[in-house]
Symmetry: C2
DNA sequence: ACCGGACACTAGCGCGTGCAAGCTACAGTG
DNA sequence: CACTGTAGCTTGCACGCGCTAGTGTCCGGT
């Protein structure tokens, strides 16, 4: 056998098999607008392509088109919980249907490799919240001009604050008046943390509650115990936590210092991570369905890449509060 | 201004600027073996490349070389904890130094997009444990021949069972004799689960302990409570959990059913996830430093991609047991 | 019978790079 | 002085595909 090394099937092979030119094959396979192809030829080409198992060569397409049809999602360096998964899944799906590939990329502190955008030549780079100046510079240096959220624009995705409002409302409905906010000390979460804190402050104000008492809570040191002590002395009866990890740290510290949860202190988490249900007591938390957000962001990316119309409305992120055992009515 | 649209800098631009041919530029930048370039020319080319900010066009390289220099890591669909991060970080670093890019890809059930290997044309696809038959078929159909772990070979990475041995030993040292193993019901974890269970069985046997009592524990339903009840009636005093999530489920069920942990039941987790430290009581767990594993796997991938020598020894994964509050001496 | 135009296609360039083959000047050899 | 060898380059093709600028054919209108 001569060609025991199976060559790749190219468009030229299809052309030869179907008895047409390579260009025609291209027109058929890409549904090139402005080209009229007879139905017979079209079917013949498609049949041969399927029979031979043709798969276009991405690199060649990228080179010829000048665009890679890759959208790079830069993810924050925190665990991918269900939310994030749904978010990515939906975004990938929307992009996939539009002929784009989504690559998710987690860059983290201490990363010693060159960032992926330097080598992948994505058409669009999408972040979760606004990129910091250094990253933007690196992106620009790599020749990437299409960035979402756009540098200099509004930093946050729509719909990301609804959950915090629910947390505060829930505690308010239970009769709590003196609330606290437990921040995450993680620098990677600083932007979102600040955003959630702002929202909590605004909601507290709108509901006519007292000032929020804010402390940063790290589960690795004694800050949780300190914060809980101060809050207790200050008459705080309920804590809004940045996320479930922080809520767990607060709850754990309260239990270890002899306070009961929710008897002495109600705690609400955020994100409904698996941890929330596992914890003893099970944590009241906020569940987000981020599919809508994923769709929204993907459409924004397609708009940047292709000039397609932008999504008309905002992102629809539906958010629900999941009551469990870590919150109770005041004085119950 | 004529060229307000900034064209991409190509090797031809460097050639023109340095007064040499395009080929020479290629030879210099790639250190092509078998080519002699005078030091003066080499420096001139490098200087111009730096001055113009040249970045090679990945797609063009891929097309010309016939290889993409991308290694695709297919990750299991469980949260990326610290271990995994270290593993990926080290692997990415090793590949990066070799001129390869690593793309990490999490495929999960319900994923509606085409798998990334269909569009990314990676040179090598690396899995965490052996790929199932369907996936292998899909990989092959995409023209991917370089797969690790090799289909049909041994399914597991070396060093992944050391932690389980530590779990059993720890309980043995505390005087426990009747042990149980808490499995994860997650089908995605089945392979690794079975592997850890086997290891536990073998270790139990080697230490001359009684038979392992095995139950699957899901935190979403009542299986944890059932398992704990049965174990307690059967005189089991210590549980080896597949991972920290399972350990938390077991511990939670025990607490809710009135048993004390570690008083009535000791529980050891695995992976040292953040959850382990947060939980009340804090979970004894196993910490792995997976950097060694990452290096090992990356070198295997390079071997497949490039024919470089394989790593000589096995993977060195150092594993330590982190004692916390969920285990105690028998009868303490 | 001739022309214009719609239709259905083809020839071929360009994308940026890697690399094989060839070419030139010059040093060294007989 | 002709010849060989080699350092140091250049020429040019290949990679697979997108797409512009055509080319030929058929058909209805005058």
């Amino acid at each position: 056998m001569a060609d025991t090394v199976r060559r790749r099937i190219t468009a030229a092979d299809i052309a030869a098999a179907a008895g047409v030119s390579r260009a025609t094959v291209g027109f058929v396979l890409n549904n090139t607008p402005g080209q009229t192809i007879s139905e017979g030829t079209r079917q013949r080409v498609l049949a041969e392509a399927a029979r031979l198992g043709y798969r276009p060569h991405r690199a060649a397409q990228t080179l010829a088109r000048g665009r890679s049809r890759i959208v790079l999602f830069v993810l924050p360096d925190w665990p991918l919980e269900h939310n994030m998964r749904r978010y990515l899944d939906e975004a990938a799906h929307v992009l996939d249907e539009a002929g784009f590939s989504m690559v998710a990329y987690t860059r983290h502190l201490g990363d010693r490799s060159r960032p992926l955008w330097e080598s992948l030549d994505p058409d669009v780079v999408v972040g979760f919240s606004a990129f910091d100046a250094g990253t933007v510079k690196s992106l620009r240096a790599s020749g990437i001009t299409k960035i979402f959220p756009q540098p200099g624009g509004r930093a946050h995705l729509p719909g990301l604050s609804a959950g915090t409002t629910l947390q505060v409302r829930h505690l308010h409905e239970l009769g709590h008046v003196r609330l606290a906010f437990a921040e995450s000390p993680d620098p990677r979460l600083a932007a979102l943390n600040a955003h959630r804190l702002d929202t909590a402050r605004r909601t507290v104000h709108d509901l006519g509650l007292g000032e929020l008492s804010v402390h940063s809570v790290d589960y690795r040191d004694g800050t949780a115990a300190q914060a809980v002590g101060r809050w207790h002395r200050a008459g705080v009866t309920a804590v809004v936590a940045y996320n479930d990890d922080v809520a767990a740290a607060v709850t754990g510290a309260a239990l270890r210092s002899g306070l009961s949860v929710p008897g002495d202190l109600s705690v609400v988490g955020h994100d409904d991570s698996p941890l929330a249900a596992l914890f003893v007591p099970a944590l009241t938390s906020v569940r987000m369905n981020s599919s809508g957000l994923g769709r929204f962001v993907a459409q924004e990316a397609l708009h940047l890449a292709d000039g397609r119309p932008r999504p008309s409305g905002g992102a629809d992120v539906d958010v629900t509060l999941v009551p469990r055992d870590s919150t109770a009515p005041l004085g119950a």
